[in-house]
Amino acid sequence: MYGSVSTHDIPAQATTGLENEDPQQLAEFEARIARGEKIEPDDYMPALYRKQLIRMIEQHAHSEIIGSLPEGTWITRAPGFRRKMAQMAKVQDEVGHAQLLYSAAETLGKSREDMLTDLINGKSKYSNVFNYPTPTWADSNAISWLIDAGAIVNQMANARGSYGPYCRALERICAEESFHLKYGHDAVVHMATGTPIQRRMMQEALNRWWPPIMTFFGPADKASQHTEILMRWKVKMASNDDCRQQFLDMYVPKILEIGLTIPDPNLRKNEETGKWEYTEPDWEELRRVINGDGPCNQERLAVRRAAEENGAWVRRALQAKRQAPKAVRPLA
């Protein structure tokens, strides 16, 4: 589950470094992408391509592992066998997705250990929505359906990107996300069309989650040289705004048809432009939360850190019997 890679946090003055690349290799690389061929790990790639992909796939992986926590909050309390088993399977999938994505990022040269270390040291970012709490079962359902729906919009776009290992991982992930989406929808529909208590729980959860959902895809991309290059190299596949519009197109009708209301009086589709209009999300809050000041940032990192520390003796024991550990990069 992951929002868009945002070009927003790239410093405006950052250079592309392209002047340091071999012009002929660069031209062949660009021609390959233009032909629709994928890039594989051992191919030449510009330093900027490698750097941006590592950062993007790594953030995506972190979002999965941290993203398992808000729904994990309800894993011991899911009501009934059907939900209990599915909630476990879903949380398990998020961990599985992290595993796939860390592996894809490793083919670019950064070890999984380094990525996990950067995560628990607070050096790496992950999707902002997971810094919000899930106070009720309905909140967990809201994530299962709508955050995963948003993630699918994004991941389907990224699966058309140019880097082979990321595409392979995303193909598998998207297949599993289709279960998440259906499961989430099923759970929300049961709540929204259920008893008065269920309906109230679901509406309140939607009210809490709508603002984070609207920031999920990130602020509108700034026009920059970077954005243009990353689009040309098929690293960034769709603009943040396009993803948000697509999400609203697909899901607003589905939310409304089950009797829920969306807590934004300004939300409407402009029939002339074909675009959704909405209250501008609070980007200042997004920035604050990304930088550590959200309701759950501290807990998420503390938990991840505890999991790493509590499991360290297991990894130490298994390492002890091996020769000097060395980094091995997965092949594809």
Binding site: Q99, S103, R168, A169, V189, T193, A302, R322, L331
Partner: protein, 208 residues
């Protein structure tokens, strides 16, 4: 103590502010193993991805649940990444074998021939698929033998050569570990059908 809405986390009794992570003295990461999956009897083994593990037997335990917890599976191969020999990648319309020629014998005593599993990648971004086994004196020789046996196939974007003695396979008698996997429908999208409920709701609320 850190308060949490998650009862599991509350039981961990974490301090309010997490202490700084202990700096690691040494690199603490297992090597990787590559995993290949067979979806039905007779189908070619296909690459599904890597796992991190301290040994091949643990890698197999991990691979089984990471790569075959959904849908039918009839077999799985696990091999250390470091044991795989691979060619460079060529373009989507080309064949790696065009650049492969016979191995010039060296003065060393010829090695005892052994088996190698050959995997082809047909298109960049797709997965490597097993095309068969060859017998050869070395991995380089195996690539040439593969060219003789499978070289007609095109395109071949990349070839992996796996020494067969490094591949962990499952005893066919134990294939029943996957017997119930296809029945775990709660993991599949298809198990969640909710349209009837929506239609009924619309009728009841007069929104249809």
């Amino acid at each position: 103590m850190l308060s949490s809405l998650d009862p599991r986390i509350a039981r961990l009794a974490l301090p309010d502010t997490a202490p700084a992570p202990t700096p690691k003295a040494a690199f603490d990461q297992f090597e990787t193993f590559e995993v290949f999956h067979q979806k039905k009897d007779g189908a070619a083994y296909t690459y599904v991805g890597p796992v991190h593990a301290p040994s091949a037997d643990v890698a197999f335990l991990f691979a089984k649940e990471q790569y075959s917890r959904r849908f039918a599976c009839t077999g799985m191969w696990v091999v250390p990444t470091s044991a795989i020999n691979l060619t460079p990648y060529v373009g989507d319309q080309e064949s790696v074998y065009d650049g492969v020629s016979a191995i010039v014998p060296t003065a060393d005593a010829p090695a005892e021939p052994q088996e190698y599993a050959i995997f082809h990648l047909k298109k960049r971004g797709k997965a490597h698929t097993n095309v068969g086994l060859v017998r050869a004196a070395s991995a380089a020789d195996a690539l040439y033998q593969a060219k003789l046996t499978f070289g007609e196939q095109r395109p071949v974007v990349n070839v992996w050569v796996l020494p067969w003695n490094e591949v962990l396979t499952l005893d066919p008698a134990d294939r029943d570990i996957w017997l119930t996997t296809p029945e775990k429908k709660y993991r599949d999208a298809i198990a969640y059908k909710v349209q009837d409920r929506i239609e009924r709701f619309k009728l009841e609320t007069g929104t249809k």
